[in-house]
Symmetry: C2
């Protein structure tokens, strides 16, 4: 259960309201690492506050409450990040599941899906490269670290899947040739 740590991490970057945290999960975070909706975030913030790991530092308009990590919360987060997970963390990724199950389709269908994957991953990677070159070299020390980490991860991710799909297509085609 990593939601509390995800929240501590986001709040360690910048104090935020539950609403802002929910937005964060819709971006790169939810795309590559962890997702959560506001209906799980609000109760979890309550629990973290009870445990003294976060606190409300500001109340704004429309009943908004800005939370920040406490020193205890920062300790907890640091310990969690520095302690290697005892067991290889398991994963839930529907995209990858779909990829693996392609082998049960007949070759024509599988090829069709694999081609879609190569197109999609190429487009996403190109977009990330474009953004990166627009942004220019990273200078601001410490700032924006999070988004940069995510973007570079995403780029390598799409490249890896792209290369995998090309390999899979080649396999399928060479098998088809061998069978004929």
């Amino acid at each position: 259960m990593s939601l509390p740590h995800a929240l501590l991490g986001l709040l360690a970057v910048r104090p935020s309201s539950g609403y802002e945290l929910a937005k964060a999960f819709e971006g790169d975070l939810g795309r590559y690492a962890w997702q959560a909706g506001h209906t799980s975030i609000y109760p979890e913030l309550g629990k973290l506050a009870e445990r003294g790991l976060v606190e409300v530092t500001h109340e704004g308009p429309r009943g908004s409450r800005t939370y920040a990590v406490t020193p205890e919360g920062r300790d907890e987060l640091r310990t969690w990040l520095l302690t290697p997970p005892r067991q290889a963390a398991k994963v839930r990724n529907e995209r990858v599941l779909r990829m693996f199950l392609l082998s049960v389709l007949d070759p024509a269908d599988a090829l069709e899906v694999l081609r879609r994957i190569t197109e999609h991953t190429a487009a996403e990677a190109a977009e990330l490269r474009r953004i990166r070159s627009d942004a220019g070299p990273v200078v601001a020390p410490g700032a924006e670290g999070f988004g940069q980490l995510a973007a570079e991860y995403g780029l390598r991710q799409y490249e890896a899947v792209h290369s995998w799909a090309l390999w899979a297509i080649e396999q399928l085609e060479s098998r088809a040739a061998a069978a004929s």
Copy 2:
């Protein structure tokens, strides 16, 4: 909710008992794509059987029941695989979450974790390459497709994370140099 489709997919490769399916999730599948324990598998098999997507084809010793996909189940699986997910599938991956949150640690701690990541991913990738070369070229057409897909995916995955971690280390070090 992808568990039913994961089960249909596994059973489409080969009819199996709930116990065998549970084992499958402990391997590459659970490592890269989707995890599930036996306590969710057994009830789900029951539901799939009720919906007519799988059926018991054999009862063995120790009360074991072998399930197989029905034609309806195969249709359902094919439709699911060929229909692109309307919305970008979200992800739950604790390892990636940990990677992204590294930016909240102080540089010395972050570097330590990043070095561990480079070592770990290099070792895993090397292991996968070793297995691949042991296995020799893939010849059996159709057979073993699943494990091969997973192994090649895993290899590219570890290479991607390795390269990402090296990039992140470089970033951190150049920032440290700029700040001094």
